[in-house]
């Protein structure tokens, strides 16, 4: 991000509690809209509407700009070391509390697809937690992580640094289902 660009963005601000609540809710709304539109784009492509797919991707990008703006104003975007600590905290909450609780309830209610969706997520969050932890240790010493590829299973989100397995250890999807970054 260059300076001229940075200057134009809404700035971090000391917020009153009610305004902060509003922005938090708006951040949640924009984030979900962005994700939904990406899914809707895939659906449009499958139905033979490539240009509507493109429109959904473009509008999704616009919503990510709003999400970022709201997050910045709430002082949610900081140094990389701090961002990694925040990311680690979020993953830990999901692993230790959120998903185990949701998983229990889905089991009690015999909702098998929900159980699957929850299990896929919690497994991947475990990958993310230690990756963030290692990256933070390096960032605190001013070091980047190494250049190995990071690959993600597009069914369950399983995340692996380095070689891609022949099949996903979480959901058994084949190698071709991984997207490499």
């Amino acid at each position: 991000m260059d300076e001229a660009f940075e200057k134009r963005l809404p700035k971090p601000e000391d917020l009153n509690a009610m305004t902060e609540e509003c922005l938090k809710a708006a951040f949640a709304g924009e984030s979900q809209a962005a994700e939904k539109y990406m899914v809707f784009a895939e659906q449009a492509a499958e139905e033979g509407f490539p240009n509507i797919a493109k429109l959904f991707r473009a509008v999704s990008f616009a919503e990510t700009r709003h999400a970022r703006n709201h997050l910045r104003v709430m002082k949610g975007v900081n140094s990389t070391a701090d961002n990694l600590a925040a990311a680690f905290g979020g993953e830990s909450f999901e692993i230790d509390e959120m998903y185990p609780a949701y998983g229990e309830i889905a089991k009690v209610q015999n909702n098998t697809q929900a159980s699957r969706s929850i299990r896929y997520a919690v497994k991947a969050e475990m990958d993310h937690k230690w990756m963030y932890s290692e990256a933070r240790d390096k960032a605190l010493n001013g070091q980047d992580i190494d250049t190995k590829p990071v690959s993600v299973c597009l069914i369950c989100g399983h995340t692996v640094i380095g070689d891609v397995p022949d099949k996903c250890p979480v959901c058994a999807a084949a190698k071709e289902y991984y997207k490499t970054f």
């Binding site: 009153n16 979900q32 473009a58 509008v59 700009r65």
Partner: protein, 182 residues
């Protein structure tokens, strides 16, 4: 023969009310995590950590797959016509209710940056509402959108369909070279 390693995302199902609530909360959590990580990736790039930036983008993508899975189980993925209606409804709620209410609170409390962030979003949602409306009319006649570029301002999200990128953003004043073309 079926590929034993083929897999598909979790499918819609009839859910208990508590499970539906939990999945809705998890969809909100995953979506926000994904957006945070994308913003964090930009910071990592700016600070000279290109590989941490790549990690953040990969994990953001993983969170997107979880958001999609939860949305699928919730029955939130319809046909394109249904999806356009849902998208139009979301934009309409933000324009008619959510952002005007939030803006009034931010004004009352004199939180200036918050007002800027809210007004950028509100104006872009008006673009989206109009675009979704006309697109839906096309789809109801089995017609795709025209093959024209879509431009988005990376500062405020202002969205323009067709023609050239505007010389500057009519909402926030950003110049043409910053616009992202789809």
């Amino acid at each position: 023969m079926a590929d034993p390693y083929k897999n598909t995302p979790p499918a819609p199902e009839d859910k208990g009310a508590m499970t539906a609530e939990n999945l809705a909360a998890a969809l909100a959590g995953e979506s926000q995590a994904s957006q945070k990580y994308l913003a964090f990736a930009d910071v990592a790039d700016a600070e000279g950590y290109p590989n941490v930036a790549r990690l953040f983008r990969a994990v953001a993508y993983a969170e997107s797959t979880h958001a999609r899975n939860h949305l699928s189980v919730l029955g939130g993925i319809g046909t394109t016509a249904e999806n356009l209606k849902a998208a139009w409804g979301g934009e309409t709620f933000e324009i008619d209710e959510m952002y005007p209410a939030y803006d009034a609170v931010a004004k009352l409390q004199e939180n200036k940056s918050a007002q800027t962030s809210i007004s950028y979003a509100l104006k872009a949602e008006m673009d989206h509402q109009g675009i979704y409306d006309s697109t839906l009319k096309g789809v109801e006649g089995q017609k795709d959108l025209d093959e024209t570029p879509v431009y988005v301002c990376p500062i405020c999200g202002h969205t323009v369909v067709g023609g050239k990128a505007p010389a500057y953003c009519t909402q926030c004043g950003t110049t043409a070279e910053f616009f992202k073309e789809f």
